[in-house]
Every structure is written in structure tokens, then in C-alpha cells.
Symmetry: C2
Subunit: 476 residues, 2 copies
């Protein structure tokens, strides 16, 4: 390993890549744009996955698995969908040593294959709703890739639900974006704006798309999760009708929603600093790393015995602990490595500490160091975990608030965007206006928040009366 | 849904497909040989996955994720491996609308891509062992497919470990086949023979392969899990050397091991009967299904109130419960459906039962019906679960023992195989003899068990002195 990471202020993109590679979250795969998720990064993904899966099940969803190969003819059934996705697909043309009669697309998302199955399973309103989620890998052939943020293959979940009414499907769409808000804010400690995408930014095949949008440490926006109301688009494309309660045939209403391994990248950029990653306790593979410090062999066994006791006491309170007694590396090297990997709390104990009956505790987020009497360790750390979780959220929120600027006209807008801020402004523009603004400033409407001011206003760009404010920013 | 399944005695293969389709475990995908794992089948897989993952972590393994696209040049590096796998691969030739410079193989297994990464990660004995597992989908282009047992795409886990010595790698190989034995016997209640494959049946690229082998309800053998000692084969193919403690460069030693969604098929065939699936309690998505029986609306609320109490009491003891109050189907229809789906225990309550303060309990495995006073329900069912788990294992074991025949000569062998039994016999043949036997009888050596008799014997086929007995059978 290495002596640290590039400073954020020096080169944020390089800082990010350094943290991901040197923190052993991920590595490059042999095929351009692919990624190996290493055990430490995968453990973070497992924690996200577990938290999300629990919430999905609590809201009545079940998991299933659909094949990843989609016949070419399926892809072309929904016009907007094929236009949006077909160009970025990987295509299987040979199988079992022979050329296939019909090429197969590796799923970029699974609406088409899932709706072809729903056609078989849905006949009547009694078969509805279907509330299915799938954990899977998907492939999108990207030109410019970045570890976790945009890779050719990535891991995600995709919910695909079928409903007997537009209202019920809309309710589901909203329910799931709220699940994502909780996942981001309460599990990852990342504050998000929640709302609707403009037509320019919605999912290819959706009626409308809701999203959660987060600010990263370089003040750029990350789309962290989306929930789509698909109306009857896919039901029409795959001819999925149901007999409603009035005994009439009607097309089924649909939603889909997903979050991906991109969230791991978001976690790095929302909380990290010049020393590396900072992990919220809920998502940290280990919350406390314990490092014994000794020179003589006789000290080693006494210290390790005490530390093992402390560790099992902590584990009995569901705190995840790692004792690093590897003798190949110095304590200093370990301090750096675990700081880079963002372990919330470091605990040290040397011969003098043992003698005095205390340990040294260092918080990763604040760097604050304190001595703790050994009998106070467990209670103190049990209480510290939710405090650190909240502190990280509050810090990220304060950062976002400080860099979200309200503007009244386009010249203010350009100035604030230039400085790298989010901009919050009354907006009544359309796709064309959005495109003009993007061309000139690289900023787009990230989200039109659900939460809106009471008062109406004037659009900063078109000067028209505006109902709503929008959040603009440069995005990943 | 439908009125039941084909009888086993009538057509076992059709019985199997009926159970899988009508029990809603899986459905056919649109591409030939692919499968949709439906929620009920996926919940069984989740239970297997969870149990296995826990054991992997307890034995020191961590999860990671490697890309599914393997450059063609990687596949060709290990001679036996490419010969075994390349012909059954799906090949991506186009990505992002362009023809690729090098075709990509969709992983049939991940040794090659993982060892290309290990080359980057391993320099010294200090970097060893690496104990990584991956949960993933893989693709093998099969000619003859069957739901769960052999599908073009399937889900599995694949462990890939790297070690500094042959002895350590061999120990790992044995450790993991023992983990699989426990998974099969203790979680799925499927008794297995544990031992070594002959060279004819080992993994393409392995030095030797260990396996667990189970008997299905039609007396055919199912290979249910394998653990491979790979020696230095892949290290040599990918030039992965480490500096050992004597400061010499040496090739790394490897293992790989896996189980797949095939286990779900094994579960169906190990325990099922003419009514459908029978699930061991540990793996059942719900262990108790509760069905209220009433005609009048006034009875409904009283019965449901009581049943909800019972259900939450059971859930507080970690019993998984489903109350089915769907009014679209009759109780009789539900009885059949849950019997087909193998739910361990059915509970019924009608107005008279409520009055008398009891419920009716029916065990799926024995069909035994009894009345239980409501205050005895929870304790009785908590105690019943491990009993049913053990009974299912014992029943499957007795079935296997009754159909494993010892023979002394080839004519007895043919007779016993003809009757559909496993044969246990002293064996000193080689690949060629095995092929001859297979040609004539369709039986192969399923496994040479670790557990061997003390005495030596005479090979039933070659007449040579033999050290070991082998288990023969016709296999899936």
C-alpha cells in the first residue's frame, strides 16, 4: 500500500480514485469500464443491500430473478425505451459454439423481460398488485467510466410492480422514493433532495421519474436513486391486460425503481476528506478497529488478552470490531490505512495504557482523541455510534445548505454555478430552455423538489410566472 | 392454478416439472434454456444462500464481485479449462453499437478472471491466504435443460482461494466440502455421500474434485456441490508467483468450490411426493400456513382475531407464518396449493374450533391431523419444527440406504443398476473401464467416499485387488 491519497483541493477526481483503489474498495477489471468490487467495498454494498432489502420486504415486496438475456425483439417493443437503451447494450451473438438466430441483449434494465413474464401471470385484478424486486447485475456500455459511479457492469436492485390503477401505481412510485430517501439519509447519512425529474432527465419509457439527489464533496450532484411511474407504456408494449372489477379489459399500470453500487461512490464523496473515506457507523464493515502497540513479546500477550476481552464485550453489544495484530506493519502504517478506509473509531493500547487501565480512542470524523477507562469503553462506544451517524449527516447537510444558493436572475445563476454551487430558483422553462442553460453552464435541473415554498414566483430564466422552484447543479 | 401434479410413478420427470411450475417455484424464460425464479422459489434460494453465506464467513471467507465478461484470451490460458468450458459459452461480440476488438465470454465460472486479479494482489506469503467468495450468475450453453437442474443461466456462489502451500489448499478444499455436507444435510435435510470424483468426472482444470452426491426420489444421483483442489494450474496459467518464507519465488496454490440454484431442484426431488413439494422447516419460506374457515361475516372477524394472536405469538418465537385470508379461493383449493408448495404445517380454524378453543394442525410430511388447544399451539409447533427437520432427513436417508446395493460382480451390478439403485462396490478401474460401464449401463462413478471400509477387496469389474469402494449410479 501507499502513503496516502491526493488532496481533494489538488485534484478531486484523483482523490476519489485514490481512495477507491488504495482503500481497497475496488480495482479495475480487465475489460475497459469494468470493475472488481473488493471485499472491503463489497462489505459496504452488503450493508446497503441488507438495509434496502429489509425496507422492501417491510413494504410488502418479494424478491425474484429474471434471466439477463433479452431477445432483441423485446427491446424494440417500447419506442422510447429502445431508443434510450439499445445503443448502450452488450450483445451476445454466439452461444454454444454457434451463431444465434436472434441476437441477445445483456439486460441494461429488465422492464422488457419482466413485462413479458407478467403477460403470462396477469389475467384479472385478483392477480394484482405484483410487487417484485430483483437483485442483479446489469450492463450499460459507457464511454467514460469511473469506479462505482459509472461502470460497464454494475450491481443494483430493480423493483418492477404491476397495479390495477394509476393511483395505486403512483402511490407505489412515491412510496419507493421515500424508501430511498430513508436509505440515503438514515443509513448512509447522506442528505438528499427528493422530487421529480424534468422530462429531459426522466427514464426512457417512464411517464415521470422521481429521484433522490445528493451533493458530493466537490459540490457536484449525484443522482442516487430513482423511482419511475411507467403508466401503461410497458403493458401496452407487451399487451398485458387485466379484467378489472367492472369486468372490462384494461392495461396494467407499472412502476420501476432502483439503486445501485453507485451509492458506494456517493458514500466516498459525501463524507470523505484528505485522509480518505469516512464511513457512517451503520454502513461500516467494522466500526471499531483495535490496534495493540508493543515492542516486547511479554507485553504482547497481556495487551492482546485485555483487548480480546474488550472486543468480545463490544461484539456482545452488536458493535463490529476488528483487532489488527498483524506484525508485518507498524502501528503508524495501520493508523493511516484505517483512516483511509474510514473506520469510525480507532482504539489503541500500549503497555503504559494497560498499566493505567485505559485505552486511547480516536474518532475518524473529528480526529478527536481521548482516554477511556477500560470499564467505560463499551457504554461509551455504544452511545457514540448514533452520535457519529448523526454528526456525519448534519455535517453533510450543513455543507449542502451552505452551497445551495437562491438566485433571481440568469446572471446570478451563472455566477453561483461557476462557483460550483447548487442553485435553487423559480423555474418555468421547458426542455429547450434547459438545453440552452446546460450548453452555456453545464448545469441541469437535478430535481424539482416535492417540498415547495407556499408563494409563487418568477422564473429566473424565462421571466414567466413560476409555480415551482427547481434545484440546478452540475452532475456526475 | 390447477388440480394437482402428475404422479411420480406415472412420469417422474413430468411430476418434477409440474411441481416447479404449478408450485410457482419457477417459470420458463423467453430464451431457450433460461429460467425465471419466481418469488416462492427465490425465497428458498435466499434461505440456502443465507445459511451458506453464514458458514463461509464463520470459516474466514469474505465476499467480493468480479466482472462477468472474460476476454477470450483469458479463457485459452489454461488448456483443460478452455477445452471444458469454451464450447458452452455465450459470447458477446458487440458493445455500444460497435463490433468489439476482442470477443468477451460471459463467465461460465470465474477462475480465469479472478486469477488475473490475484496476479496484481499477490506478491509475498504475507498476502496469503486470500479467501474470497462470490455470489453471481453464470452462463453455460446447455443443449438439454431442466428447470433448476440445468439451465443456461443460473445463480451460484463460487469460492476462489489462494494459498502458500499445497497442504493448506488441500485443507481448504476438504473444509469446504464439509461445509457443503452440513448445508445439504443440516439445512436441506438431504443426506449426501461425500468424497472424491474420478478423473473422468473432475472439474476442467482441477487436480482433483471433491463432491457431495445425493439420491433423488427416482433413485438417480444429483451432484449437489463440488470443491476443487486446483494445485498450481491457474497460478501457472496466469503467472501468479509469491515470495515464500525462504525468499524463493513459487507458484500459488488454489482451490475453488461452488453450489448453485440446482440445490432447489434437489430439494424438490429429495423430499417431494405425489401431492408436490415437501419442505424441511429450516428452508421453508413459511413454516406454518394458517387458513381461516367460515361462511358468515360475523364468524370471520372473530376467527381472524384469534388467528392473528396465534400468528404473532408464533412469530415471536421465530416461526415463519402466513395467514391466508384471501376470499377468492376456497379452503380446499388452498389446502391443495399449500400442500403442493410443501409448507410444513397447515393450521385450520372454523367457527366450531373457535368455540372449542382449539385448531386443527396437519403435518405436510405425514399428513397426520390433530387438534391442538390454542394455549398449546406455540410450544407444540416450536418443538415440532426440529422434529420434522430430522424426520425428513431420516426418511431420505432410509430411502437411500434401501436403494444402495452392494455387489461383487458385473452381472449383479447391471441388475442393481437396471432396477435404478445406487451401487456400492470395490473398484480399481480406470477412465476406460468407467466409459465401458457407462456405455452399457448409463451408470458412472458418482463418488469415491472418504469413508471407506477397513478391509480391502476385489474390483467387481476388473477383478483386480481394490483399496476402495465407489458409489455408482445414473445421474442428473
Amino acid at each position: 500500500m501507499s502513503k496516502g491519497v491526493t488532496k481533494q483541493s489538488e485534484d478531486y477526481a484523483k482523490w476519489y480514485t485514490d481512495v477507491v483503489l488504495k482503500g481497497e474498495l475496488a480495482d479495475y477489471g480487465p475489460v475497459k469500464g469494468t470493475m472488481i468490487i473488493r471485499p472491503y467495498g463489497y462489505a459496504i454494498w452488503e450493508s446497503i443491500r441488507e438495509a434496502a432489502d429489509k425496507m422492501f420486504k417491510e413494504t410488502g415486496h418479494v424478491n425474484a430473478y429474471f434471466p439477463m438475456f433479452i431477445p432483441e425483439s423485446f427491446m424494440t417493443k417500447e419506442a422510447e425505451h429502445v431508443e434510450g437503451f439499445a445503443p448502450e447494450c452488450a450483445v451476445v451473438t454466439h452461444g454454444g459454439g454457434k451463431k444465434l438466430e436472434e441476437p441477445l441483449y445483456v439486460r441494461p434494465t429488465s422492464e422488457t423481460i419482466i413485462w413479458s413474464a407478467y403477460k403470462k401471470w396477469i389475467n384479472s385484478y385478483r392477480d394484482l398488485p405484483i410487487l417484485i424486486n430483483q437483485w442483479a447485475n446489469v450492463v450499460r456500455w459507457e464511454m467514460r467510466t469511473r469506479l462505482f459511479l459509472r461502470t460497464t457492469e454494475f450491481l443494483w436492485q430493480e423493483g418492477h410492480t404491476a397495479h390495477a390503477s394509476a393511483a395505486e401505481a403512483e402511490e407505489e412510485t412515491r412510496k419507493m422514493i421515500e424508501v430511498y430517501r430513508k436509505l440515503a439519509e438514515e443509513h448512509l447519512a447522506i442528505p438528499v433532495y427528493v422530487g421529480q425529474k424534468t422530462d429531459a432527465e426522466k427514464f426512457a419509457g417512464a411517464v415521470h421519474t422521481y429521484c433522490i439527489e445528493a451533493m458530493m464533496g466537490d459540490k457536484r450532484a449525484l443522482q442516487a436513486g430513482t423511482s419511475h411511474y411507467l403508466g401503461q407504456n410497458f403493458a401496452k408494449a407487451f399487451d398485458v391486460k387485466f379484467l378489472n372489477k367492472n369486468n372490462e379489459l384494461e392495461y396494467v399500470y407499472a412502476t420501476s425503481w432502483g439503486v445501485s453500487t453507485r451509492l458506494v461512490g456517493g458514500l466516498v464523496m459525501a463524507h470523505g476528506d484528505d485522509k480518505g473515506l469516512i464511513l457512517p457507523p451503520k454502513v461500516a464493515p467494522y466500526q471499531v478497529v483495535i490496534i495493540p502497540i508493543y515492542k516486547k513479546e511479554e507485553d504482547r500477550s497481556a495487551i492482546l488478552e485485555k483487548l480480546s476481552q474488550i472486543a468480545s464485550d463490544l461484539e456482545s453489544k452488536n458493535i463490529r470490531v476488528k483487532i489488527d495484530d498483524n506484525t508485518q506493519q507498524s502501528p503508524g502504517w495501520k493508523f493511516n490505512q484505517y483512516e483511509m478506509q474510514g473506520v469510525p473509531v480507532r482504539m489503541e493500547m500500549g503497555p503504559k495504557d494497560l498499566e493505567k487501565g485505559h485505552v486511547v480512542i480516536v474518532r475518524r470524523d473529528t480526529g478527536k482523541k481521548e482516554f477511556l477507562q477500560t470499564d467505560a469503553i463499551t457504554n461509551t462506544l455504544v452511545e457514540l455510534m448514533p452520535v457519529m451517524q448523526k454528526d456525519l449527516f448534519d455535517r453533510a447537510l450543513a455543507f449542502r445548505e451552505a452551497h445551495t444558493k437562491t438566485v433571481n436572475n440568469y446572471s446570478e445563476f451563472k455566477e453561483m454555478i461557476d462557483e460550483g454551487n447548487f442553485v435553487k430558483a423559480y423555474w418555468a422553462g421547458d426542455d429547450r430552455h434547459e438545453e440552452e442553460i446546460q450548453k452555456e453552464t453545464k448545469a441541469t435541473v437535478r430535481v424539482i423538489p416535492f417540498e415547495q415554498p407556499q408563494a409563487k414566483g418568477t422564473c429566473f430564466y424565462t421571466g414567466k410566472p413560476a409555480d415551482k422552484i427547481a434545484i440546478f447543479g452540475k452532475s456526475y
